[in-house]
């Protein structure tokens, strides 16, 4: 005990002698180190690998520098082009449906009625679930024999429930993943729209009432323009997220049947960990990264605009 006290004194003194700036750096340093190790270093390594023909399953093979060859092959490959079109189909329809449903739900929830909070909680539930869980139980919903989805469709349309399969059909599988993503993420768009709707001051509507503006005109000239920045934010956020979509679709269809639901990230995983074309897949990852980074830059700009309002 008597030995430790004199030893700790110089350390204490040294800590007290540190400037505020040094202490701040001391606290931030572990985070910066982790960021560099987990994010920046792998990114730089991936960019480096994208210019080589490296294969991760043959680490001892001599690695050849191929320059921009991987990028040229990806950007002239009709299969990759098809993958991007599948991603675009998924992206456009999910965003369109989520905006439509999300905004309608927000508009309805914004009206004051009994049980408002309960309904909000119930609507928001799907986005709180794990994508793996959602994918798993929707595969049961889509079962032709026992699935709830087929029975609901059959109830309204009169079609035999076992006559169609959502996941196994080439034409229906892309819509199957769109329905699940819309079910899961429309509440998110609803929440953002609700924030926008609640930020509109009542006196604007009161002034419009005095000017004898109809409800329809109020909606188009007050509600829509005031909510639009929030809606843009939701669209950009969902766009970025769905561009990277992987877990939900892998759980639901695994990219099939054929390659009808093979989104860019699923194709990337196949190239990297099934075909082991690490250099090629690194180049593809860089292309996707630059696209997402570009979209994220626009997202941040839109976010700042909303903040300034």
């Amino acid at each position: 005990m008597t030995d430790t006290i004199p030893a700790s004194r110089p350390i204490r003194r040294r800590i007290r002698a540190l400037s505020d700036r040094s202490i701040a750096w001391l606290f931030v340093a572990p985070t910066i180190f982790l960021l560099l190790a987990v994010n920046i270093f792998p990114l730089i390594w991936t960019i480096r690998l994208s210019f080589t023909d490296f294969r991760a399953n043959r680490p001892n093979r001599e690695v050849e520098w191929v320059g921009l060859e991987n990028y040229r092959r990806i950007l002239t490959d009709p299969d990759i082009w098809n993958t991007m079109q599948v991603t675009a189909h998924f992206l456009v329809w999910t965003i369109a449906l989520q905006v439509l449903i999300g905004f309608t739900l927000a508009w309805l929830i914004n009206r004051k009625f009994r049980g408002n909070d309960l309904w909000t909680t119930l609507i928001v539930l799907p986005m709180m679930l794990s994508p793996a869980v959602v994918g798993n139980f929707w595969t049961f919903f889509y079962q032709p024999q026992i699935g709830l989805f087929n029975y609901v469709v059959s109830f309204f349309s009169g079609v035999d429930p076992s006559s169609f399969t959502m996941i196994g059909s080439v034409t229906l599988a892309p819509w199957a993943i769109i329905i699940v993503d819309t079910w899961m993420w429309s509440p998110f768009v609803m929440l953002i729209c609700l924030a926008g709707l609640r930020s509109i001051p009542d006196y604007i509507y009161e002034a419009a009432e005095i000017d004898r503006a109809s409800k329809w005109r109020q909606f188009w000239t007050i509600t829509v323009p005031m909510v639009l920045p929030f809606l843009m934010l939701a669209v950009l956020f969902r766009g970025i997220e769905n561009f990277k979509m992987f877990d939900l679709v892998v759980q639901l269809t695994g990219g099939g049947p054929g390659s009808t639901t093979e989104l860019a990230s699923i194709n990337l995983k196949r190239e990297a960990f099934e075909k082991w074309r690490t250099g090629y897949s690194s180049a593809f990852a860089v292309i996707l990264f630059v696209t997402v980074f570009g979209l994220a830059s626009i997202y941040v700009k839109a976010l700042n605009k909303v903040k300034d309002r």
Partner: protein
């Protein structure tokens, strides 16, 4: 429109960011369109130019 070009010449952030945003959006559309393969081929270059431009021009004065 004149203000936009004046802003570009005077290296102001607003118009340059707008131009970069347009390039990124154009690049994404070119990447995902189903019509012509050459647009898909050049999409990455357009997006990359837009993104790099965005990073640089976001440091320009207002």
């Amino acid at each position: 429109m004149t203000a936009f070009f004046t802003g570009l010449i005077r290296l102001r952030r607003g118009p340059w960011e707008m131009l970069a945003t347009l390039l990124i959006a154009l690049g994404v559309i070119m990447l995902m369109q189903p019509f012509v393969l050459w647009a898909f081929t050049w999409s990455f270059v357009v997006t990359l130019v837009g993104t790099v431009m965005f990073i640089i021009t976001s440091h320009f004065p207002e």
